[in-house]
C-alpha cells in the first residue's frame, strides 16, 4: 500500500448539538492537488480547521505521513480565505513570518524567503506593504507564506474566491505553474466547479446537512493542462457529473 501524505478517517463534528460534518474520510497523495467542492456553509472550513489542528473533532483521526496529528496545530500549512497579510509588515516580512515563528533569525529568514520571490512571480515587491499590492499579488504572497511554513502539505481555503474573474484566470495559470515547480501536496476548498476541475487531480464532493462526502471524481487530464482545457468536451463532462451529484 502506498503511504498517503495526509489521511482523514471518519471525522465528525457538531457545534451546539448540530452536526456539521459526518464521518468524513479523505486522503491526499504526494504532490497531489485535491479539491473539496461544496456549497458555502457546508462545513468545509470546519473540516479544514480540524485538519490543521485548530479544532478538535468529536471523533475520527487525522494522519500526516502515517503519524496521528489529530488536534495538533503547527504541522500543516493553512492558507485562509482572506489573504491575512499583516498591513504593518512589508511583503518580505509577512512572507518570512512562519520562519520567524519557528525561531529563525530575521536576516536568514528574509534571505530564505527572498529566494522564492522569483518562482512565485513576486519580484520587486519585497519592500512594499500589502496595501500597495493588487489582489492577485496578495494571494501570491499569501501562498508563498503558506509554502514557507511547510513544504509538506498545504490546506487552501477558497484562496482565489475574492478575485474578479479575469484576475482569477491569470492566477489559476500562475498557480498551476508554481505547483509544477514546488510540487506541494495541496488540499483546497472551493465552491467554484470550474476552478475545481481546472486545478485538481481529484475532487471530493461535500454536500447535505450534515456534510458528507457524496462523490469522488478523478480528473484524468494530466498536468500541465492545455490552456483551452476548460473548453473541451471532457471538461464539460466532468462539470455535468458534478452538477448532477450536488
Amino acid at each position: 500500500m502506498i503511504m498517503e501524505k495526509l489521511e482523514i478517517k471518519g471525522v465528525s463534528k457538531s457545534f451546539d448539538g448540530k452536526k456539521i460534518i459526518d464521518d468524513i474520510s479523505l486522503s491526499l497523495g504526494q504532490g497531489e492537488i485535491v479539491s473539496l467542492l461544496g456549497v458555502s456553509g457546508g462545513g468545509k472550513t470546519t473540516l479544514f480547521n480540524i485538519i490543521s489542528g485548530l479544532t478538535q473533532p468529536d471523533c475520527g483521526k487525522v494522519y500526516l505521513n502515517g503519524e496521528d496529528i489529530t488536534g495538533t496545530s503547527g504541522k500543516i500549512s493553512y492558507m485562509m480565505q482572506k489573504d491575512l497579510l499583516l498591513p504593518y509588515r512589508t511583503v518580505i516580512d509577512n512572507v518570512a513570518l512562519p520562519l520567524l515563528l519557528k525561531g529563525e533569525k530575521k536576516k536568514p529568514a528574509r534571505e530564505k524567503a527572498s529566494l522564492l520571490f522569483g518562482d512565485f512571480g513576486l519580484e520587486g515587491t519585497q519592500k512594499k506593504y500589502p496595501a500597495q499590492l493588487s489582489g492577485g499579488m496578495k494571494q501570491r504572497a499569501a501562498l508563498l507564506r503558506t509554502y514557507l511554513f511547510s513544504k509538506d502539505v498545504a490546506l487552501l481555503d477558497e484562496p482565489f474566491s475574492a478575485l474578479d474573474t479575469l484576475t482569477k484566470a491569470s492566477v489559476h495559470r500562475w498557480y498551476l505553474d508554481v505547483m509544477e515547480k514546488i510540487k506541494l501536496s495541496t488540499f483546497f476548498i472551493t465552491h467554484d466547479i470550474d476552478e475545481a476541475i481546472l486545478l485538481s487531480d481529484r475532487i471530493y464532493l461535500l454536500s447535505g446537512t450534515p456534510g458528507r462526502i457524496t462523490d469522488e471524481i478523478i480528473i484524468e487530464q494530466p498536468r500541465p493542462r492545455p490552456d483551452d482545457f476548460n473548453l473541451t468536451e471532457e471538461f464539460l463532462g466532468y462539470k455535468k457529473r458534478i452538477l448532477n451529484s450536488l
Binding site: L54, S77, Y78, K82, L86, Y88
Partner: protein, 257 residues
C-alpha cells in the same frame, strides 16, 4: 518634494493666520487701553517678561520636565502592563477595570494635597500624580488595540504553532500601535499639566512653583509668559509623538488611501 512642502504650508496657513489675528487683536486691545495694563499685559509685554526671566524659566522647566518624564515613563509602563494582563487574563480585566475607572473619577486637584501630605515636597508626590493621570489612557487605549487585532490573523498564526508571546509580538502589539500613539499624545500633555498642578501645592522648584510666586507678586506678564511656555512645551512633546508615530508606522499613510 516641493509640492509636498507647498501642501503642508497651505494646510497650516488657516491656523497660523487665526493665531496671528488673535495676537494682533489682543495687542490692539492693550494699545487702545480697553483693559488696564496691570490686568492684561500685551503680547509684547509677555515676550519682554519671557526674555528677562528666561534663565529662571529654563531652570524651572528642567525640573518640571524631569518630573513629567519620570511620571510619564512609569505611567506608560504601568498602563502597558495593566493592558497586557487584562488582555491575557479575563479575571484581571473583571477585577481591575472598574477600579481603574474609579481612579479616573477622582479629581487630580483633590488628591494632590493628600499626596503632598503623605510624600512631602520632593519629586515623589508629583511623579505619583502624573502616573495616576497617565496610566489610564494608555491602559485603555492599548487594551482596545489588543482586542481590535484581527481574529483570523491570530488563528492563522496559531495554525502555524505560534505561542502566546509570538502572537502578542507579531499581531496584538502592532495592531495596538495607533491606539498607543493616540494615548501618548494625550498623556504627554497630561504629564506636564500634572507636574505643574502638583508643584502649585508645594515644592522647591518647577514651573508650577514659579507660577505661584509670580501670581503672589501680581506679575501678570510673567504669568502669561509661563502659561505660554507650558503650552509650547506640550505642543513640542506632541509633535515629538507625531514624529515617532511616522517613524514607527510608515505604512499608515498607505492604508488610509
Amino acid at each position: 518634494m516641493i509640492k509636498k512642502s507647498q501642501n503642508t504650508i497651505r494646510n497650516k496657513l488657516p491656523a497660523v493666520t487665526a493665531v496671528a489675528l488673535l495676537l494682533i487683536i489682543w495687542q490692539l486691545i492693550c494699545l487702545l487701553g480697553l483693559v488696564p495694563q496691570y490686568m492684561l499685559p500685551s503680547p509684547v509685554d509677555v515676550i519682554k517678561a519671557f526674555i528677562s526671566d528666561r534663565e529662571l524659566l529654563f531652570k524651572n522647566s528642567l525640573i518640571t520636565l524631569q518630573e513629567a518624564f519620570a511620571g510619564l515613563a512609569l505611567g506608560v509602563s504601568i498602563g502597558f502592563f495593566a493592558a497586557v494582563l487584562m488582555d491575557r487574563y479575563e479575571i484581571f480585566y473583571k477585577a481591575f477595570y472598574p477600579v481603574m475607572v474609579i481612579t479616573q473619577t477622582v479629581p487630580t486637584v483633590a488628591i494632590a494635597p493628600l499626596l503632598v501630605l503623605w510624600f512631602g515636597y520632593e519629586m515623589l508626590p508629583k511623579i505619583i500624580l502624573i502616573i495616576l493621570s497617565t496610566f489610564f489612557p494608555v491602559a485603555v487605549g492599548l487594551l482596545d488595540g489588543f482586542r481590535s487585532a484581527d481574529k483570523d490573523a491570530i488563528g492563522l498564526l496559531r495554525s502555524m504553532g505560534a505561542s502566546n508571546s509570538q502572537i502578542f509580538r507579531y499581531i496584538k502589539f502592532p495592531s495596538a500601535l495607533p491606539q498607543l500613539f493616540s494615548a501618548l499624545r494625550i498623556t504627554v500633555a497630561y504629564s506636564i499639566v500634572g507636574a505643574v498642578i502638583s508643584e502649585w501645592l508645594g515644592g522647591f522648584g518647577g514651573l508650577g512653583v514659579y507660577m505661584t510666586r509670580v501670581k503672589k507678586a501680581f506679575a501678570f506678564d510673567k504669568m502669561f509668559a509661563v502659561i505660554f511656555l507650558i503650552s509650547a512645551i506640550s505642543l513640542l512633546l506632541m509633535a515629538l509623538v507625531n514624529l515617532a508615530e511616522k517613524k514607527f508606522m510608515p505604512y499608515r499613510k498607505l492604508n488610509k488611501k
